[in-house]
């Protein structure tokens, strides 16, 4: 059976949708952090560590939770393939500021631990007890061909039966998350055109 897109979730412009249907909207919050916190609370995502996370992890956690909680079952060997453009730039800047001479040169451990984008993979894996292949790539722009080739390769080589793919971009108050599941089941066509359309 061909690989398809079986579930997908979008977060952008103050809206969150699951498989194309709106599940949350809040246009009143002036910042990304306030918006994502309001979504976390309203959607009753119970994960206290959320508050300590950097913006990229918060976006990743909310998007993947909405997606994975909508599925009947989750394979513990589901692979993760995440990408974005800005890495974890917001927390990097915060860390840089915290170690500056003006601030006394003290690094904040709670900030430092989030200064790698692949921490987002770890947070999702811990929450859903995934013990699987995972990778985070940085691209100039959304790269659907790479995501298709990589996810199909993981499935075809028997590394996993399904892949959670995601474009998770956040830079200050600009954000766009698109996460989707690729697996050999009934679903939407897995193609560059389709992914570009769903982004």
């Amino acid at each position: 059976m061909k690989n398809k897109i079986t579930h997908y979730c979008n977060i952008k412009n103050g809206k969150i949708s699951l498989n194309g249907k709106l599940v949350f909207e809040n246009q009143d919050e002036p910042t990304f952090l306030k918006f994502i916190k309001s979504a976390y609370k309203t959607l009753k995502i119970d994960y206290p560590k959320f508050y300590k996370m950097d913006p990229l992890c918060k976006l990743s956690l909310v998007a993947s939770t909405i997606l994975l909680d909508s599925m009947e079952s989750i394979d513990s060997e589901m692979a993760l393939l995440l990408c974005n453009r800005s890495s974890c730039i917001d927390i990097d800047k915060e860390h840089q500021s915290s170690i500056s001479y003006e601030n006394g040169g003290y690094a904040s451990p709670a900030t430092f631990v989030y200064t790698l984008p692949n921490i987002a993979l770890g947070e999702i894996s811990i929450k859903y007890k995934l013990k699987s292949e995972n990778s985070f790539f940085i691209f100039e722009n959304f790269n659907p061909k790479f995501m298709i080739d990589y996810s199909e390769s993981l499935i075809n080589l028997g590394k996993s039966k399904s892949v959670l793919c995601g474009w998770l971009e956040v830079n200050q108050d600009e954000y766009n998350a698109f996460v989707f599941i690729v697996e050999p089941k009934e679903g939407e066509e897995l193609s560059v055109e389709k992914l570009n359309k769903l982004l």
Binding site: K52, P109, A110
Partner: protein, 85 residues
Amino acid sequence: MEELKKELKEKIIDALNLDDMSIGDIKDSDFLFGDGLGLDSIDALELIVILDKDYGIKLTDPKEGKKIFESIETMAQYISEHRTK
């Protein structure tokens, strides 16, 4: 001492991003780790930085930390006895 306890609660809420908490939610005798506030090992490092940066106290013996960071009460007591700024 009461002012120091209040100050510590504010610093902990701010440094550890305990967004949904206010100083009224933390009792002086609450355990900071485990069943109390549920802080973790990274938070412990953050508390060590607070001690150094804000009160001029450098912890050299890790075993000391367990007693010092038991609660706001024990932290305030230790800081008041050892602070250099």
